[in-house]
């Protein structure tokens, strides 16, 4: 068994105000593996994800990227974040920038590429998510699915080692979900390591190598994607049946 690319150990997070959102979560993600985190709202899924790239500082625990601890002041958080792509539920595209500039912003200002080079790379990535024909559009003029694919391209452009997806399809109309899921599926098949927080149980079942069910800040059940069909714990069974209704 190879070393995990991403390893989370005993992560805890208590928010200011005392909400204990994450109570000791540990998991590893191997290279090329895709991990789905499912669970009901408020179970700490998104917090875990944000604690990984320190958009939220975990209260306790260790996060390692390729064996190197990244949640210490010693690690350069900006360079760490540029190695971890993140896709948000509400897209969070930069509304004042064109699609191509959204994707090339990080390349120019973080990777220090020249403007022309960055645009070239951005075009390749946009081609990968099938958005090459809308490079000069503003995010406001795109559909939700298109926005999310641009957001994926923005994260991909930085050539991340791990991609984090925070409910990438929750804000989309059902008919738009397909194209986004297709894109993510394509990434998974290309061997991208990814952690996906999702409510799309079907997607988790099809794409994820492993599934993590979280409830009230702890990992309630963990296993290959087959556990979705045969949940062991009562809580997960209740959760799945509530979704399927």
């Amino acid at each position: 068994m190879s070393d995990p690319i991403l390893s989370v150990k005993d992560m805890e997070k208590t928010y200011v105000g005392g909400v204990h959102a994450v109570r000791g979560v540990s998991f590893d993600v191997l290279e090329g593996e895709s991990l789905a985190i499912i669970g009901s709202s408020g179970s700490g899924k998104s917090t875990v994800l944000r604690c990984i790239n320190r958009l939220i500082e975990p209260t306790k625990g260790v996060v390692r990227l390729k064996g190197e601890q990244i949640n210490t002041p010693a690690s350069n958080i900006n360079s760490v974040r540029s190695r971890i792509g993140m896709v948000f539920q509400s897209f969070e595209l930069f509304a004042h920038l064109k699609v191509i500039d959204n994707v090339s912003l990080g390349l120019i200002h973080v990777r220090g590429m020249s403007r022309d080079k960055a645009r070239e790379v951005a075009k390749q990535v946009l081609d990968r998510v099938d958005m090459l024909d809308r490079t000069d559009a503003y995010p406001g003029n795109l559909s939700g699915g298109q926005k999310q694919r641009v957001a994926i391209a923005r994260a991909l452009a930085m050539k991340p080692e791990v991609m984090l997806f925070d409910e990438p399809t929750s804000a989309l109309d059902p008919e738009l979900i397909g194209s986004v899921l297709e894109t993510i599926r394509g990434l998974a098949e290309e061997g991208m390591t990814m952690v996906v927080v999702t409510h799309e149980i079907g997607f988790a079942r099809d794409v994820a190598d492993r599934v993590l069910y979280m409830d009230e800040g702890v990992v309630a059940e963990e296993g290959p994607s087959s556990i979705i069909d045969e949940p062991k714990s009562e809580r997960m069974r209740a959760f799945l049946s509530s979704i399927n209704e």
Binding site: F88, F94, H109, G140
Partner: protein, 757 residues
């Protein structure tokens, strides 16, 4: 004031046989048959007709380049134009001409040139002198006078063929005698560039021109008369362009800056006349038909007409009728426009300053740096901060050196190589060290407690050592709220002490736990939370600033800043010291021109004094600062509101691709926030324009103050304030239109609710 129908500068004028003539730039020539009421203008060639003389039923006009035209009267309102006169064969320039007959004249010019025209050819009658000859006047066809540089006076008695030197008074032996007028066989006048009036009279058998004396000017009356006058001395304070003698003792003088003066006693008492046009108008010539009727002509086609020169001592020229709206507007518009420009100047600088302050303050207010972050800094980070200015300095110098190197090496075909910033290397090493420390020993609690204790001691020491100064103010009870004014320094020190004590308590009580503390109030169940480590020092500084400026009236701020704190003086004095006249001489460029410009004309009264730029006027400096500082406080809140309106996800998204906090602010948050806050900022800018009217309380001549001054002269209250209101409306409305355009231009497609047109 007469409607001349021309905008060209009128340079000379003559009155002849009941007709009035005026000549000007670009060959313009006008004639009036009704004593100057109505004018017909025509073009005589394209020369600037600077010089003219009349007599012998003819008018001669000439340009400085030597072109000459003679206009010969042949009947009532009819004339022959002789434009085939050969030009004066001058070497340099013609300074004056005088007719000696209907077809003959004499011209004088630079370097002693004298040319006599006998109707056919020009004869050189130069004396061999080198002084510039400036003016010539003939009494009849034989007797004439010339004046010039260095006190030169020449006289002829044979129509200009031969000339003799005459002596000017010693006082003016080195002055330039710019005008001479041979009025009668017993009287001639001359005037120097400094304004000495010279008089020559026939004394016994000695004819005019031999003996000259300086007229003692007893009184100079300003326009409008009254009983106030200035003691004159031996010269006028004006450089006179034209002198028209209309009697043995009566003369009219005209000059730049609206100077039009009358003397009834040969120059002893000179009263300046009220004029119905701008005080900036330059008058070039006066032509009088007789002792009372005449015109004065000047820049921009201005023709003033008088029918009673000297009839009333102080009001020689036509007075404006302020009850006539047209004349009132004509009078007040220039003042209003001056005010408009003055307002625009403080508004522009005020907006720029306010916006910069607003951006900085709003960034401070939203910055997440808290005491926790401060406590977590270690010594290497502190050294890094201290080194940053030096790094920037090196970086700047290196950028220039590298640029030059690049040019040189690429010019020589060598491989390009650039120099590294040595401090940059140091800093990156320090950062690594600090990162190691942070990793191995995230928090040095002992050090933090030690720093806290030191701060605590310093704070108490500070307070107790300055309390005596507050006590010395002899305040009683509530009067203590005025202590900040009584002793600003000690009050600031006490505030500093309190801040140090708070910091000290927080730091000294540090145990590595930065969370919120819940405190229980005695036995009761009441609970309250304190979050000392969440105190954001940058936010506190910005909050204090905005609180001070938003909770005091702007008019009081104006007066406190200008009269109380004397900000204008405090900036002007060192500013002028730095950008002094000698330094700027030769170094002036458009940037220093914004700061200050000096009068560089050695002949001007204001020579060497600041005449433009921000540093010229203390009230101007104070007004910019009062408006800018005040507006900054409001703009800060507006911009902060816009920043708060940006979804927090945008910051997360920016950080998630690896941008740091400042990069995300600069590249992601601010560009969107500024777009959002264009409408409220427009509000604030319009407010700033309107608030600028308060600058009148510190004596800044902006538009409202100009309105008051206009009322002081005209007593037209309704019209004046109405015009002031319209002027403000024009500024603010065009500003609003511009902002609307800007909003439309910068609108992000597909974002926001579009409210239609």
């Amino acid at each position: 004031m007469v409607d001349s129908g021309t905008e060209s500068d009128l340079l000379s004028a003559e009155a002849l046989n009941g007709e009035m003539w005026a000549f000007g730039t670009g060959g313009i020539a006008g004639k009036s048959l009704d004593g100057g009421l109505t004018w017909q203008f025509d073009n005589f060639g394209t020369h600037d007709w600077t010089h003219s003389d009349s007599g012998f039923d003819s008018i001669a006009i000439a340009s400085t380049s030597g072109a000459v035209i003679i206009i010969e009267e042949i009947g009532e309102g009819e004339e022959d134009i002789h434009d085939d006169i050969p030009p004066v064969p001058t070497q340099e320039r013609v300074n004056a001409i005088a007719l000696t007959g209907s077809q003959s004249l004499v011209a004088v010019g630079h370097s002693g040139e004298i040319w006599q025209f006998d109707g056919v050819t020009w004869n050189n009658r130069s004396m061999g002198g080198v002084e510039d000859l400036l003016s010539i006047s003939f009494l009849d066809s034989n007797a004439g006078l010339i004046s010039g540089q260095g006190g030169t006076i020449l006289a002829t008695s044979d129509g200009g063929v031969t000339w003799d030197y005459r002596d000017a008074p010693n006082e003016v032996s080195s002055s330039n005698i710019s005008l001479v007028e041979y009025y009668s066989d017993i009287r001639a006048y001359a005037i120097t560039e400094q304004g000495h009036i010279l008089k020559s009279s026939k004394q016994g058998s000695v004819s005019v021109g031999f003996v000259w004396s300086i007229v003692e000017i007893e009184r100079e009356y300003p326009p409008g008369g009254g009983d106030d006058f200035l003691p004159g001395g031996i010269d006028l304070d004006y450089q006179v362009n034209s002198m028209e003698v209309i009697g043995q003792f009566k003369m009219v003088l005209a000059g730049p800056k609206g100077y039009l003066a009358l003397s009834l006693d040969g120059g002893n008492i000179v009263s300046q006349q009220m004029i119905p046009v701008s005080n900036e108008t330059s008058f070039h010539a006066v032509a009088m038909q007789d002792g009372f009727n005449g015109v004065a002509v000047g820049d921009d086609g201005v023709i003033l007409r008088t029918e009673n020169a000297g009839a009333e001592e102080f009001v020689g020229f036509e007075v404006i009728d302020f009850n006539d709206f047209g004349q009132f507007v004509d009078y007040s518009k220039e003042r209003l426009i001056d005010g408009l420009v003055a307002t625009a100047k403080i508004v522009l600088f005020g907006i720029a300053m306010g916006f910069s302050i607003g951006i900085i303050l709003s960034m401070l207010k939203t910055s997440p740096t808290s005491l926790k972050n401060v406590a977590q800094t270690n010594r290497f980070q502190l050294i890094t901060f201290a080194l940053l200015p030096f790094w920037a300095l090196f970086q700047l110098a290196l950028a220039i050196i590298n640029g030059i190197l690049l040019l040189l090496r690429s010019g020589l075909g060598l491989p390009t190589k650039s120099l590294e910033n040595p401090i940059g290397i140091q800093i990156s090493e320090l950062r690594q060290k600090s990162a190691q420390i942070a990793a191995n020993k995230p928090l040095n609690i002992t050090a933090i407690r030690l720093v806290g204790s030191v701060l605590l001691v310093l704070g108490f020491f500070q307070i107790f050592s300055t309390l005596d100064e507050i006590r010395a103010l002899n305040l009683d009870g509530w009067e203590h709220i005025y202590a900040p004014v009584g002793s600003p320094a000690s009050f600031a020190l006490i505030l500093l002490g309190i801040a140090l004590i708070i910091l000290g308590v927080v730091f000294a009580s540090c145990n590595g736990d930065f969370s919120i503390k819940d405190l229980h109030w005695g036995a009761s169940k009441r609970k309250f939370s304190i979050n000392p480590w969440g105190i954001r020092p940058l936010n506190t500084i910005a909050t204090v600033y905005t609180d001070i400026f938003r909770n005091t009236p702007l008019i009081v701020q104006f007066m406190f800043i200008h009269f109380g704190f004397e900000l204008g003086r405090r900036i002007q004095e060192p500013g002028l010291e730095l950008f002094n006249f000698d330094y700027l001489e030769g170094h002036a460029n458009f940037l220093t021109n914004i700061i200050v410009t000096y009068d560089t004309n050695p002949d001007s009264l204001a020579y060497g004094r600041p005449i433009g730029g921000i540093l010229e006027d203390r009230a101007y400096i104070s007004a910019i600062f009062a408006l800018g500082l005040n507006s900054g406080a409001y703009q800060c809140e507006t911009i902060r509101g816009a920043i708060a309106a940006i979804p927090s996800g945008q910051m997360e998204a920016g950080r998630s691709i690896g941008l740091n906090y400042m990069q995300t602010m600069r590249l992601v948050i601010m560009p969107q926030a500024v777009r959002i806050c264009i409408p409220p900022l427009g509000n604030e800018m319009v407010n700033l324009v309107l608030n600028s009217s308060l600058a009148m309380v510190i004596g800044y001549a902006e538009i409202t103050r100009q309105g008051k001054l206009i009322i002081a002269t005209t007593f037209q209250i309704f019209w004046t304030w109405g015009m002031v209101m319209i002027s403000y409306f024009v500024i603010t409305w065009s500003l609003a239109l511009f902002l609307r355009y800007l909003e439309e231009k910068t609108r992000i497609p597909g974002l926001g609710i579009s409210g239609g047109a």
